[in-house]
Symmetry: C2
Subunit: 340 residues, 2 copies
DNA sequence: TTGAAAGCGGTACCAT
DNA sequence: ATGGTACCGCTTTCAA
């Protein structure tokens, strides 16, 4: 039996000791050379030998060992439960990543699908990130934040819809969005306003505050707010559209552009005239919303620039003494097109 | 000056030694208790004391230390340059994450924006992941794969459009998609076929093979394939539409549904009849494609089930001796609606 | 200019 | 049933 054990046996992962041996120097010297340690002068010939040896062995430093020794990491953890949806978030994520990398942080998204808030926080804490930026897909609790900070996180930043935690964090207030949409509809004379609540799990953290914002905006105006459950699909939209006439509504804010587009089409198929009978409002300003007729009115969301958020992370990491501030990181404004 | 040094000074991160001290036992015992080590019997009272101490201190184990000692991790690295776009990928990502977590892997997305293939591979290797699943956003080279394997990765799996690497990897062939779209258009009697190439950076890895597949499908049929550059925006679509009549094309495969929707609307605004004058074909089967009129024909892509891919990862990790197989993980089939 | 050695936090073997 | 301890890979003083 010529069992061929994989490299695990025949080619153990090279360590700095291997490099040292091959170069005929000590591990210390290897470390100095490969890190360009300024405080120490190593002769040029030695440097070359070390570098060649490292190259030859395909040496790659062991991040865990390094950070264990250093006592800290440069890791910024971005928890993700569901991959963020929509071009808005994608752009934001990419910007943030770029900006953090430029500041020499390692950006790691930790998949936390199916973990509850505190379990998730513990799992993150095991990686000893220097900062955690939660976009609110996982509901972080006060205890969760405490666990993270106790495990060495200098900055724990919440961008989620929920209120400030027991610690460092700032808020991206989703309520503004619902409020903005409803204010626009009220301004245009609508009084019976449906608010679509997505049936899909994981969106409650966004949809609930948006509904709350809608209610606040309508309070005292005599207008009626009517929550309407709908799933992301044509069937569900059709079902809702079929019972529309009985609802006595003259407007709807449909969570975001995608739900709005689905519902608008279903309403049209039902013979309902948009915007005369019903005004439709989305959110996110998706490009595709402009392709439908009538063009979809929407709430344009100014997400914080990734750059700015990265700078904030960096500031808090360098000086964690700051009081947890609350920043306003989002602006929302109505974009009137044709559907409202 | 009452400088208040943050917890870093006053409350160092608790270690298992702290737990041991507080519980009045040894570090070994702490480890046994907290890991439920089966090979060792610890008395119930002791277990309790240890657990209470850990709880009180808010102890969280240090993943780096643990994996350093263990000599391996359970980390599966998913490199991401741009956050994956589109519901198709989102679903796939989520499924994969779920499935891997169920197999007790830690899923980490490593942001590699702005890193070149080999730099990226080195950066990933520093984390010593047990597996790397690259969706092809970062072009992995043969050397990159070698670096990863040498650093202990048991499985390196490429889902990208590029060909098999020098090692373990399997291919999601994007050419099928272009081929499928064009075959459908040919079947319907079209002979002058435009292929939209997105101007956006980072998509070449997908668009080029799709174009190649389109060309292959058209070869020998007498049909003409015409690459057309277009950006993701209404202006660019309008520009392309304006010069359409001069192109002498009776069909277009527009990379994916989003570009297809943009272009179709622009063509309609130009007074061009879809599908009589021009047949339009997208890809991805986005829900929103069904909302336009005419409904968008598309290529439905059967992405490998995350579950299946996770099982493959696990199999390769457990037995890396396997020859790098090439699996076909994607099916593509045309979905005829109204625009073609 | 270079090397020896301590130690970061856990784990697991070997004693007791 | 528990404790002592070596060791994982790397950095960093201190000594030579």
């Amino acid at each position: 039996m010529s069992q061929t054990p994989e490299q695990s046996a025949e080619r153990p992962v090279p360590t700095s000791a291997d490099v040292a041996r091959l170069a005929g120097v000590s591990r210390a010297t290897v470390s100095y050379v490969l890190n360009n340690t300024a405080a120490v002068r190593i002769s040029e010939p030695t440097r070359c030998r070390v570098r060649e040896a490292a190259e030859e062995l395909g040496y790659v430093p062991h991040a865990a060992a390094r950070s264990l020794r250093a006592g800290h990491t440069r890791m910024v953890l971005l928890p993700t439960a569901h991959v963020p949806v929509g071009p808005l978030y994608s752009r934001f994520f990419n910007e943030l990543q770029w900006a953090l990398r430029r500041l020499d942080y390692t950006v790691v998204q930790y998949g936390s699908l199916g973990l509850d808030g505190d379990e998730a926080a513990r799992a993150w804490a095991e990686l000893r990130p220097v900062a955690v930026v939660s976009l609110g897909e996982v509901a972080l609790t006060r205890q969760g934040v405490a666990v993270l900070k106790r495990s060495g996180a200098k900055a724990v930043i919440t961008l989620g819809p929920q209120q400030v935690e027991g610690a460092h964090s700032l808020v991206m207030d989703q309520r503004e969005i619902g409020g903005c949409a409803v204010a626009h509809l009220l301004e245009r004379g609508r009084r019976g306003i449906g608010v679509v609540m997505p049936q899909e799990p994981g969106l409650e953290l966004f949809s609930e505050p948006r509904l709350e914002g809608a209610r606040t905006a309508a309070a005292g105006t005599g207008a009626r707010i009517e929550p309407l459950t709908m799933a992301y699909g044509e069937e569900s939209a059709a079902v809702l559209a079929a019972r529309w006439r009985g609802l006595d509504l003259d407007a709807v804010y449909a969570y975001n552009d995608e739900y709005a587009m689905l519902l608008m089409r279903a309403l049209q198929d039902e013979g309902i005239d948009i915007p005369h009978e019903v005004a439709v409002m989305g959110a996110d300003d998706l490009l595709l919303g402009r392709l439908l007729r009538p063009r979809l009115s929407t709430v344009q969301i100014d997400l914080v620039a990734g750059q700015r958020l990265a700078e904030l992370v960096d500031r808090v990491v360098r000086d964690p003494g700051d009081e947890p501030e609350r920043h306003d990181l989002m602006g929302a404004r109505p974009l009137h097109r044709e559907s409202s």
